[in-house]
């Protein structure tokens, strides 16, 4: 290996690109007719979404008795899926906001896509609390408005905080995403000769003119939004963790939950982004924009957050023992050795052991291997929520009410269906909007910025 010059920042993109080429490359999926593979993929995700609709129709018609949930396990797949999908969303905001504040230029190639994923994941997640109440058309009562009952919502309840956190998160993510899209939509407007497309792009680009008198404010706003989105994303999973931590169930009632949940969310989110990006860069030939360097950096973040999650698992056990509370001790021993031990140990293998392979540079840079590891991480993180929610509920203080939870077919349909719903959006996104930010990528090409005379 040749010696690396550490004083110079490595360029984000591989090779030297003409700006025009980048535009052509990024706009290509939007300007060409989708191929057969796209339709096959769409058919698969749409059939999965069909399962989703069927599962929900059964649930709403016959009631949530169609699920495996029953006292004492009143929360199961519905809430597991909710927490899982909200968590997936977190990577997007981390990439677009936190890495932006840290001036990590490598984020430019993946930020747009990750933000889109955030929006879709939070949309998917947002469905679950509504599904979970069984009568989603009454969900309007979750919002505090002066109603005919003249009672207000309970502002001291973490479930209500969730309503605020998730809806704020979705709105701010959408705004952030859209603001980033405006210049690109204007570029597309200038490129296209298609009449209808031109009208649509004109409407949504709002007549953006690439004026530097605008860029000037625009960059400021981007900074402000990033500044707000950063504490916001931390708050969202913190509040989600409060749903559990504020209650008194052994196994839930722990102060480590907020940071532990946030780390887990970023962990699973990065795994999902990495998985999907590997496919995207292959299908659309974005190998030079979404480089192996970028993927390696994502793997490093997974290594970091994965280790944090592993630490949290260990610390939970330690505190359970150290607290001397019998119910706590039992709850954790029950996790590792009780009826759900299978879930616990799969989770530990996927979440704690597998990311440790990323210590090896070779593995960090080998695409098939990291792809598989990321899939493991996603399985592990889904199981983590399952372990936390179901094992704690199935055996709490009163042995006479213990029960073993088993999901039903409808539960499975809704779980698979939620993936279908999410990936349908992703597929449509790749054909409707630029999945890489043109303006941002062009700005980091070598020679795209004025050679500063101050240097």
């Amino acid at each position: 290996m040749s010696t690396i010059d550490y004083t110079r920042e490595l360029s984000v993109l591989e090779g030297k690109h003409a700006l025009r080429e980048l535009d052509d490359l990024i706009a290509k999926p939007l300007e060409t007719k989708p191929d057969k593979k796209f339709y096959i993929a769409l058919a698969i995700t749409l059939s999965m979404t069909g399962l989703f609709v069927l599962g929900l129709a059964l649930t709403f018609y016959y009631g949530i008795g169609m699920w495996g949930n029953n006292i004492p396990v009143a929360w199961a797949f519905d809430i597991v899926n909710f927490v899982f999908w909200v968590g997936i969303g977190h990577a997007g905001t981390l990439i677009s906001a936190i890495l932006f504040l840290f001036r990590q230029k490598w984020r430019t190639g993946i930020a747009r896509f990750a933000e889109g994923m955030t929006v879709f994941a939070v949309m998917t997640a947002g469905l679950f609390p509504l599904i979970h109440v069984g009568r989603p058309w009454l969900a309007g009562y979750l919002f505090p408005y002066p109603n005919q009952h003249s009672v207000w919502v309970n502002f001291t309840s973490p479930l209500l905080w969730d309503v605020f956190a998730v809806s704020t998160y979705l709105t701010v993510s959408l705004i952030f995403w859209y603001v980033g899209l405006i210049p690109d939509l204007a570029t597309l407007r200038e490129r296209t000769n298609h009449k209808i497309k031109k009208v649509v792009y004109s409407i949504f680009s709002l007549g953006w003119r690439f004026s530097n008198r605008h860029w000037h404010h625009y960059e400021m706003v981007y900074l402000i939004l990033a500044g707000f989105a950063t504490p916001l994303v931390l708050s969202v999973h913190t509040i989600v963790s409060f749903d559990f931590a504020v209650s008194v169930i052994p196994g839930w009632h722990t102060t480590i939950f907020p940071p532990y949940f946030v780390a887990g969310a970023v962990f699973s989110g990065f795994a999902m982004v990495q998985n999907v990006l590997i496919m995207i860069r292959k299908i659309f030939n974005y190998e030079h924009i979404i480089t192996v360097d970028t993927l390696e950096k994502m793997n490093k973040i997974m290594l970091l957050t994965g280790s944090m999650v592993g630490y949290a698992y260990a610390m939970e056990f330690f505190i359970a023992w150290y607290s001397g509370v019998e119910a706590e001790r039992f709850a954790f021993l029950n996790r590792a050795m009780g009826p759900y031990a299978w879930a616990y140990w799969i989770m530990v293998t996927c979440n704690v052991v597998s990311p440790q392979l990323f210590w090896f540079k070779k593995i960090r840079r080998t695409i098939p291997v990291m792809f598989v590891i990321a899939i493991f991480v996603n399985i592990g993180m889904w199981l983590e929520r399952f372990v936390i929610i179901v094992t704690s509920l199935s055996r709490d203080f009163l042995p006479s009410s213990w029960a073993y939870y088993k999901p039903t077919l409808v539960d499975g349909m809704i779980l698979i269906g939620s993936f279908g719903f999410f990936f349908t959006w992703i597929l449509l996104f790749t054909k409707a909007l630029p999945v890489v930010s043109m303006a941002e990528v062009k700005a980091v090409v070598d020679g795209a910025q004025p050679s500063h005379k101050e240097h």
């Binding site: 058309w137 009672v151 001291t156 605020f164 709105t171 709002l206 003119r209 530097n212 939004l225």
Partner: protein
Amino acid sequence: MMSEKILYSYTGIFDTPDEVTHAAEEAVKQGYTKYDVNTPYPLHGMNKAMKLPASKLGYVALIFGLSGTLGALLSLWWVSAIDYPLVIGGKPFFSFPAYIPVIFEVTVLSAAIATVLAMLFFFFKLPNNAHPLHATDYMKKVSNDKYGIVIQAEDPIFDEASVRKFLESVHAKDINAVYWAEEEITHKHKIFEPKFLTFLLVVVILTSGTTYFTLNKLMFMLPFNWMMEQQKQNPQQKSLVFADGFGMRKPVEGTIARGFLPYAFKGQPDLAGEKLINPIPISKESLQLGQTKFDIYCSPCHGYQGEGNSRLRGQYPNPPSLHSEKVRTWSDGRIFAVLTDGQNVMPSYSTQLSVDERWAVINYVRALQRALNAKESDLQ
């Protein structure tokens, strides 16, 4: 044709970011104020070259963020401490720590929305697709990989020849004049076009129609059944279980409701007067209860003192005085019979007054009688 058009600006194109930055610096030096630089992405150092003042959008974020904080705090306080105080988990009505999450989210939401709206609508005056620069070759280039400068005709020192010369001096390519398009100048409001008005009308009818249908019809169809349709017996419903088809069953013969012993002397007031004994001893509490109940239930007809001075002003036959020799000599049980059974036009009070309350009223009536017809011994 050319002469009818109104000039908007002159534009020039550059190939490199360095050139355009240089051109912007020169434009400032020349004293142009109505000029702009268009680049496909923000250029580092352009703000400095154009000498743009720092963006004020930070203040918008600050002001709206703080208003969000304050608004959320005040409304949470009003809702839970003033409008509908409710004890939840033994916490104080205004439990600030529990409000922090909601207040935080509202702060972020209002700041983010306000900042972006302010930027787009007030700072940029967007949406604006009628700008003269739109649909020009210039816009096509700067949206992709070229850098451009615009010098507007509005500029106080604008002069076609000198601007051209200036653009040439900074080595701009494709120097072009951009004119206002017809409809961009006339500013005819397209809102009043019949086409748009019809469109609005259709939107209004569609949204109100669907809203009405959803809220008033759809929500009452299956499966939106408001939990009414369940596998259980509802009141007034036919029963499939009982032979007589009645869903609502009568209690078993001889069932007595708690606290409601049947009255044994119905229609036999004299017997009641003989047999019934007042079980409630005269006490301050009993007299007070009696007074309250008497004032509520008896005084409208009998008067506050029981003298028969009805407040109903002839709308109902005036009752006799309760201070008559007859009533004074009646036993408590006899009066109890009147209250329980009623007497002629006086209705029964057994549904309004419990047994104990009836005895308390009787105690009070006795006190009233004693007050008007005091015994000699009472004076001592």
